[in-house]
């Protein structure tokens, strides 16, 4: 029963024409394992260096309580999985190494199967105790993990009470996904029983630091998924459903997010931010958001810009106090009432899916565009794909988010967005009433419009 790779067997197998092959393959097979080892070392090195790179969506750098809990759960699992990984890979390599014999492969390309007859190992058919062992063992391990897993799962849905000093302890937000941006309906005293939101903003959800803010994800068209990786896991935004979830940050700053449920053409460009402010900062921000605008008079600065806006943009975009639209045959100023309440997102039997700014079949797709009342206070636009302020990240992380309005902004990008938005990012397609179309504005109009938009603080 000696293995033919041992020198002594070579003479024993003289009847086999391939007796000398052993020498060649002895070199060959170790070589393969060596290559494999090199490969794993290279991969491991790359892995370690790769993790060091800076990624704003990194799930392993939690900045919120929930994301932290998730990491506390998963990190030991990664370790256990790593141990099993090393054990199995080690076993494969070890067994392959220890019990290998060479395949006959002299000269010719093809294997022709001439094995030494007598070379058989013990014919083991199984081992009952071992089988039971490696059935029960993993089952117990899984059961143990399951206990922690289920516990973590239920605690993930819990909402803590607001901390001391919270300016708005009851604040809740309906997070509405649509192709391809996020809208936030703020209810400062909670959604229950409220007829309409206190104010509506887009792309960036602003929260007071340290406080669990309950959100309800929902959608006006297809399924999206709301995900700020450093704060919490993701929750789908399903039309006709309002799903509770929590956004909470341990530190002041701006945290990147990305829609993670495939939602059509511009899915990759549907991003968002969560911004955590101090409690005083949040109060200041809320007070500003609650303010409406007054129509500008002829001769006022940016008056022409506002007129261009009303002529070209107000069919879809709202500026509180400025825009108006036809409701039941009469022109009425836009108001928060048109955004409806949470019940309208749940009961969509009228086809409105919460609310619609228009009637008709394109309602689902084109109804809403971001409310621009305080456009200039947001650090990004167009589904948070473009940064309005080049320094937004650093300033927000330093707690200066509220000072963005009025600071240096990226005029060129905003101009090109207004010039031809489908060219700037995948957007409105012919025949599909969604996204922002190319409005064919003149350069002069674009200039005036940019000046106007940037004044909306």
């Amino acid at each position: 029963m000696t293995s033919p790779r041992l020198g002594s067997t070579v003479s024993k197998q003289s009847s086999y024409s391939r007796a000398t092959r052993g020498v060649n393959s002895l070199k060959k097979i170790p070589n393969q394992h060596f290559r494999l080892m090199i490969f794993f070392v290279v991969i491991a090195t790359l892995f370690v260096t790769g993790c060091a790179s800076d990624a704003p969506l990194d799930t392993l750098k939690p900045a919120g309580r929930k994301a932290n809990d998730i990491n506390t759960l998963i990190n030991p699992i990664f370790v256990i999985a790593g141990i099993i990984f090393i054990f199995i890979q080690g076993a494969v390599l070890y067994l392959g190494w220890k019990f290998r014999v060479r395949a006959p492969q002299e000269g010719e390309d093809s294997f022709n199967g001439d094995y030494p007859d007598e070379d058989f190992p013990e014919q083991v058919h199984g081992h009952f105790a071992a089988e039971i062992g490696w059935t029960i063992g993993p089952a117990i391990l899984m059961a143990a993990i399951a206990i922690f897993s289920v516990g973590a799962l239920f605690s993930l849905d819990d909402v803590d009470a607001a901390p001391e000093g919270a300016a708005h302890p009851e604040v809740e937000v309906i997070v509405v996904g649509q192709q391809w941006w996020w809208e936030y309906h703020y209810y400062l005293d909670g959604v229950d029983g409220a007829d309409q939101p206190d104010f509506v903003t887009a792309n960036e959800i602003v929260i007071p630091v340290g406080q669990d803010v309950r959100i309800y994800t929902t959608s006006r068209d297809v399924i999206h998924s709301f995900w700020i990786p450093r704060l919490n896991g993701k929750k789908d935004a399903v039309p006709g459903r309002t799903t509770p979830w929590v956004v909470q940050a341990n530190e002041v700053g701006r945290f990147a997010g990305q829609c993670t449920e495939f939602c059509g053409l511009s899915h990759a460009y549907m991003r968002m931010y969560a911004v955590a402010l101090s409690h005083e900062g949040f109060q200041t921000w809320v007070e500003n958001q609650l303010e409406s605008r007054q129509p500008l008079q002829e001769g006022d600065k940016n008056y022409e810009g506002e007129q261009i806006f009303l002529a070209n943009c107000s069919r879809c975009h709202v500026i509180n106090g400025i825009t108006s639209r036809e409701v039941n045959g009469s022109i009425q100023p836009d108001s928060m009432a048109m955004y409806g309440n949470i019940e309208e997102f749940r009961d969509h039997s009228d086809g409105s899916l919460g609310q619609g700014k228009y009637t008709g079949s394109v309602n689902l797709t084109a109804g809403a565009a971001p409310n621009l009342t305080h456009f200039a206070t947001r650090s990004s636009y167009a589904g948070s794909f473009f940064e309005l302020y080049p320094d937004a990240q650093d300033m927000s992380d330093a707690g200066d988010y509220l000072r963005l309005a009025g600071s240096d902004y990226g005029r060129g990008t905003l101009e090109s967005w207004l010039r031809n938005s489908p060219a700037a990012k995948p957007n409105a397609q012919p025949g599909q009433a969604r996204g922002m179309p190319n409005l064919n504005l003149s350069e002069a109009d674009i200039d005036l419009l940019v000046d106007y938009l940037i004044s909306l603080d």
């Binding site: 990624a55 998963i74 099993i84 494969v92 290998r100 390309d109 081992h127 399951a146 797709t365």
Partner: protein, 675 residues
């Protein structure tokens, strides 16, 4: 001979006469004749030819799906790339998923099922040979139908763009107004018919046509795994069929099954899709598990370790696979109780899978392992699938999954399962059974080279995706920005993808070179049993003669063929009883009655894609397609049961003739093939 097609029995009933055919209900249509040329493939009912055609088609679709993948990788190789527009990208990644799952992985599994199940159980053919041909042609028609969406109505205008999972309402007409989702729904409906028909056929085959003495618990592990696969298909396919019908009616006939505005709940689609979709994962993986359960014992020169545990863990996976579907929906808001239940069931499905991995390792333990190309692939499956299994456990923890789902971490996970577990296993199977199928070896040298290129390329492609996913890169995004930290690993991943392409090309080159060498007489004769294998398919000549076995094999124990070759001496050492050549049939029996080829399976199958085009473009086409199907079925029913003058086999065989030997006559009553 033992296995006699008695499809003439119904005719007999009416007349009470002998089954000598004197009258032809449709005189113009005799059954096709001749065993050579393209006709012998188009009209064949031979499970081996059908298996080979499944394999060839699956490989072709695998290459096409791979080309899609290369374009996806090219697009993602750099941030802000614009090789593919968002519109095209969405179609390309959808087609990649659809083609790889439905047109490559399923048919490659079907290739092994068709070719090997009858051989491994010692049968003459499958239970319903014409139905078998029908399911292949239906599959091919459905697959080509899907692919034509690439260019019908414009280049990449009408391909499906909703992802392979096709979540509603994004697949509604309002959000996906091109014809793509129609092609998706109808195309998969057609290939689903193929899978369902094939599954029924093979289930009946396994249950009714095993050699005498081969009890279920003596079947090879591969046959067991393929059998479980067919059972899963049988129950999973109707679910996706229902879902696709609802989707088709929504899109084409203004139904409201998924119309949220009319009160539909979009989660209905998700439940239907994943009740099919998760068993589908096991439909894909179990054939590969079976394949390496044949390869590892053969090249370790040991029997499979823990045969009953291998079988029952497969069955356990088959059952538990039905209770885990909602783990695809942890983030969808089904509520924490449902999520907890599915999370726990998902964790426990790791147990039978772990049993399999440890049993493969135990089979290798103490063996005499010969690292031929098939064994290299089988070993790689154990190693690579383990990685996919472990990452699978990390997202069975629902809380953790809320970070991981829909990121590249998931993409990494299921590619380690599907590529590392399934595709590598299939490649191992190709190298292992190639001499049996075609009578010559694939080059070992090229095979080993391509193996290493493939394994390295595979790890370079999908390994970095673990990191990308944990760094927060979402799935199905057409591009990413430079500041997101995804640049480096995406670039590495793209390099890896091209290495896989190189390895696949090397495999094709290997086929061509080895085939030429074979034609030139430069390759060694593999003989019936080149690897000193264990199961019955090696007990006949290579390539397998049309009638499979010369006589019925009486099976006494598991690994019957091996036990006929090897015995034990007094001291318990394994000694040779007989050489493989002595034991194996040489295929010389010309006295075998076989089912005749038939025109009708392909004729009927052609009708289905025509109906599909009709549904999308012009309902009148449905009438034409319907005539094909009905005419095909009519001809099928009324075609002569056999042609006495058929030259379908290389002998002039009397229709009624049954091998005279008493033992075989006895078997004949048990082994009946009804077409």
């Amino acid at each position: 001979m033992a296995i006699v097609e008695q499809e003439d029995a119904p005719l007999e009933l009416g007349s009470g006469e002998s089954n000598q055919i004197t009258e032809r209900p449709l005189g113009a249509f005799t059954r096709p004749q001749g065993s050579g040329g393209w006709r012998s493939w188009l009209f064949t009912v031979d499970h081996k030819k059908i298996g080979i055609m499944y394999g060839a088609a699956g490989l072709l679709f695998f290459i096409i799906g791979g080309i899609y993948a290369l374009f996806v990788r090219l697009q993602l190789s750099r941030p802000g790339n614009s090789i593919l527009s968002a519109e095209t990208y969405n179609q390309v990644f959808t087609m990649h998923g659809v083609v790889m799952v439905f047109l490559a992985a399923i048919p490659l599994g079907a290739a092994f099922s068709n070719y090997l199940i009858p051989l491994q159980i010692g049968a003459r053919d499958v239970a319903f040979p014409r139905l078998n041909a029908f399911s292949f042609w239906v599959f091919l028609g459905g697959g080509l139908f899907l692919l034509t969406s690439m260019f019908i109505g414009g280049w990449w205008e009408n391909a499906p763009d909703g992802g392979w999972f096709a979540y509603s309402p994004n697949t509604g007409v309002l959000f996906s107004p091109s014809k793509g989702i129609d092609f998706f729904a109808i195309g998969l409906q057609i290939t689903g018919i193929a899978s369902l028909v094939g599954a029924i056929n093979l289930i009946v085959t396994v249950l009714n046509m095993r050699s005498p003495g081969m009890t279920l618990m003596k079947m090879p592990v591969l046959t067991w795994m393929l059998f479980i696969t067919q059972m899963l298909l049988l129950f999973a396919m109707p679910v996706i069929s229902v879902a696709l019908f609802l989707l088709t009616f929504d899109r084409l006939f203004d139904a409201n099954f998924f119309n949220v505005a009319e009160g539909a709940d979009p989660l209905l689609w998700q439940h239907l899709f994943w009740i099919f979709g998760h068993p589908e994962v096991y439909i894909l993986i179990l054939p590969s598990f079976g394949i390496i359960s044949e390869i590892i014992p053969t090249f370790s020169r040991k029997p499979i370790f823990g045969y009953p545990f291998m079988v029952f863990s497969g069955i356990a996976i088959g059952f538990m696979g039905w209770g885990v579907w909602a783990h695809h929906m942890f983030a969808s808001g089904v509520g924490p109780v449902a999520v907890a239940a599915f999370s726990v069931s998902t964790m426990f499905i790791a147990v039978p899978t772990g049993v399999k991995i440890l049993n493969w390792l135990a089979t290798m333990w103490g063996g005499r392992i010969r690292f031929t190309t098939p064994m290299l692939y089988a070993t790689a499956v154990v190693a690579m699938f383990t990685i996919g299994g472990l990452s699978g456990v990390t997202h069975s923890l629902a809380a953790a999954d809320s970070q991981q789902t829909d990121t590249y971490y998931i993409v990494a996970h299921f590619h380690y399962v599907i590529f590392g577990g399934i595709i590598l296993g299939f490649f191992g199977g190709f190298y292992y059974w190639w001499p049996k199928m075609f009578g010559y070896f694939l080059s070992e040298k090229l095979g080993k080279m391509s193996f290493w290129v493939m394994v390295i390329g595979f790890n370079l492609t999908f390994g970095p995706m673990h990191i990308l996913g944990l760094q927060g890169m979402s799935r199905r995004i057409q591009t990413y920005s430079a500041g997101q930290g995804f640049d480096f690993w995406n670039f590495i991943s793209t390099i890896g993808a091209f290495l896989i392409a190189v390895a696949t090309a090397m495999f094709i080159v290997n086929i061509l070179i080895s085939r030429r060498a074979y034609r030139d007489g430069k390759t060694p004769d593999p003989g019936p049993d080149p690897w000193d294998a264990r199961s019955l398919e090696w007990m006949t000549a290579s390539p397998v003669p049309e009638h499979n076995f010369d006589e019925v094999i009486e099976v006494e124990r598991q690994d019957e063929f091996w036990h006929r070759k090897w015995g034990k001496n007094e001291s318990g050492q394994v000694v040779r009883r007989a050489t493989a050549e002595e034991v194996a049939h040489d295929g010389s029996n010309t006295n075998v009655h076989l089912p005749s080829p038939s025109y009708w399976p392909i004729f009927a199958a052609v009708g289905l894609p025509i109906i599909g085009y009709g549904l999308i473009y012009n309902l009148w086409l449905c009438v034409i397609g319907g005539l094909f199907v009905l005419g095909g079925l009519y001809g099928w029913v009324f075609e002569p049961v056999d042609d006495p003058n058929a030259a379908g086999h290389d002998h002039d065989d009397d229709h009624e003739h049954i091998d005279d030997s008493p033992e075989n006559q006895e078997d004949a009553s048990e082994e009946v093939s009804v077409d």
